[in-house]
């Protein structure tokens, strides 16, 4: 479904992504791991149009998508959450999801129909599935950090993506929130067969839920394979797993 080939992105001489390769099949959960500054977020930005690659190819469903803008890629079926919570802070939980649903339904140019209550059923269904239904009328800025991250996943889901990209979905979460988030990711993958690409510093978590793992160090892909293959890779052990085991 997604294929990244020798992609390079530099910021004024510094190569943040330098020869990344990645392969994601439909229905898989794939994780990207690597130390701080390895280029994971930059890679994700390249996949969602927030940055364009200097060279290399990014193919989604067989088509080159490198350099397309974020809103176009969302419509093509890639949605995401960000490493730092990125929601509409002044809108309620309900409205955050609603606006994403309306965008997907191409209703954002309706200027006279009242927005209140539009797409209510679907928004409620999404909020129930992520466990935020009871907080639907809360201004989203007032949510706990963990709930904000979950809300952002809900917003990303509202676009009915084929590929969901999550940049450190559990970062900063309390243990029980992390647990809940993992269950959610599993459920999304299991129930709706959603393809998920994420990155995470919690290595145990990664080995627990990812079908396959890609290891990135200094912008380059060191290895991509099953948990077992990654564990066995000596380069990974020296460069990453051995020294820290978790960052």
């Amino acid at each position: 479904m997604l294929r990244v080939e020798s992609v390079v992105k530099s910021f004024g001489g510094f190569k943040a992504v330098d020869g990344a390769n990645l392969h994601v099949n439909a229905g898989e959960i794939v994780a990207v791991i690597g130390p701080n500054g390895a280029g994971k977020t930059t890679l994700f930005h390249l996949l969602t149009g927030h940055l364009s690659p200097d060279s290399g190819r990014i193919l989604f469903k067989g088509k080159e998508i490198g350099g397309l803008s974020p809103h176009v890629l969302c419509r093509r079926g890639i949605t995401r959450s960000f490493q730092v919570v990125n929601i509409f802070p002044r809108l309620s939980v309900f409205e955050n999801v609603q606006i994403a649903v309306l965008s997907r339904e191409r209703k954002t140019f309706r200027i006279f129909s009242p927005v209140a209550g539009m797409a209510e059923e679907e928004v409620h269904r999404i909020l129930r599935s992520v466990g935020l239904f009871d907080q639907r009328d809360v201004e989203s800025d007032l949510l706990s950090h963990g709930d904000k991250k979950v809300l952002e996943i809900a917003v990303a889901l509202s676009g009915n993506p084929e590929l969901l990209i999550l940049d450190e979905p559990t970062a900063g979460m309390a243990p029980e929130e992390t647990e809940r988030c993992i269950r959610l990711i599993r459920k999304l993958s299991g129930e709706s067969g959603l393809t998920i690409l994420f990155c995470e510093h919690d290595i145990a978590l990664v080995f627990e839920i990812a079908n396959r793992i890609m290891v990135m160090v200094r912008g380059a892909t060191v290895v991509q394979g099953s948990g077992e293959e990654v564990r066995r890779n000596s380069e990974v052990q020296s460069a990453y797993l051995g020294e820290s085991g978790g960052c």
Partner: protein, 311 residues
């Protein structure tokens, strides 16, 4: 509670406005007309600056073009008056589209500065083109249909059009489009990430704001019977901006309040002093220091963390 009281208060206000010319002398009826159309102008600006978060620093240009469009059709073509009242706002919307396409690529302040520059260009053309626009003299004695030529007639026309336009904008900010532009204002990155074409929506918002600004300009022709270039000069843009700031940019009705206060003050002040800009400057200073959310915003705005403020 406040939410349920609002429609009632508005009806009361409307009733009072309907009765106004029956009890007020001529001059005050005229002032009330100016208050109304300026309130429309400020509300239209707020669509761009308060609701979309675009630094619309040259809004008076659309007001001026709306006025000149209507005035020129009325004086120079044999076309019926309704055409004139369409041409003004449509010309303003078209100009808004063209300027928007040019400026939208720039961010924040640069957008505003370029808009002022382009607006000044339009002003300069109008100011100099004596044979067409009347140059710095403007156009006077514009012929109007009898029904709206009297002070009362023009007042009721202004009231009707302003009420309809404000209602239309009220609907717009509560539509899906309205929600989306507010989302863009607060977080353009997230908006794009959910599939919203940010620039296209910003452009649409600018065109709508320009259109209603143009309507206010057309009403000016009805009330004043004349147009002159200074109504589109950048200093007047600033004055309208102050109205929004004073009333509260994050409230729908704030700019209406701000416009009323400023217009009444100006009328009052011009009787007693020549130092209007001094007064305006003082108001601006006081507002920025004591009422950063504006008069209305101070009372109705939900409390939010500081870092989320700012258009």
């Amino acid at each position: 509670m406040r939410r349920s009281a609002t429609p009632f208060l508005l009806l009361l206000l409307l009733a009072a406005l309907l009765a106004l010319p029956q009890v007020l002398p001529r001059f005050h009826t005229y002032v009330a007309s100016i208050v109304l159309l300026t309130a429309l102008l400020a509300t239209s600006l707020n669509l761009a600056i308060g609701y979309t978060g675009l630094y619309q620093f040259g809004h008076a240009v659309f007001y001026g073009v709306g006025a000149y469009g209507t005035a020129l059709v009325l004086t120079r073509s044999g076309m019926p008056a309704p055409v004139a009242f369409l041409v003004g706002p449509l010309a303003a919307a078209a100009l808004s589209l063209v300027m928007g396409v040019i400026c939208i690529r720039l961010s924040k302040l640069y957008f505003g500065m370029l808009q002022i520059s382009l607006g000044s260009l339009v002003w300069a053309v109008v100011y100099r083109w004596y044979s067409f626009t009347g140059g710095d003299d403007g156009i006077h004695g514009i012929p109007l249909p009898d029904a709206i030529a009297s002070p009362k007639g023009s007042y009721y026309f202004t009231l009707t059009v302003t009420a309809l336009c404000v209602f239309a904008m009220y609907r717009i900010v509560r539509s899906p489009f309205g929600k989306v532009i507010q989302g863009i204002r607060d977080n353009p990155v997230r908006a794009a990430a959910i599939g919203v074409d940010v620039r296209l929506h910003q452009l649409a918002s600018l065109v709508i704001a320009g259109f209603f600004g143009g309507v206010a300009g057309s009403l000016f022709v009805v009330v004043e019977n004349s147009v002159f270039p200074d109504m589109m000069f950048w200093t007047f843009s600033l004055e309208v901006l102050i109205m929004c700031l004073l009333g509260g940019m994050y409230t729908f009705f704030g700019p209406l309040v701000g416009a009323s206060v400023i217009v009444l003050l100006r009328v009052f002040a011009s009787v007693h002093t020549q130092y209007w800009s001094l007064i305006l400057g003082t108001i601006l200073t006081l507002v920025i220091i004591f009422l950063p959310d504006g008069v209305l915003g101070r009372f109705v705005r939900r409390s939010l963390p500081k870092e989320d403020r700012g258009a």
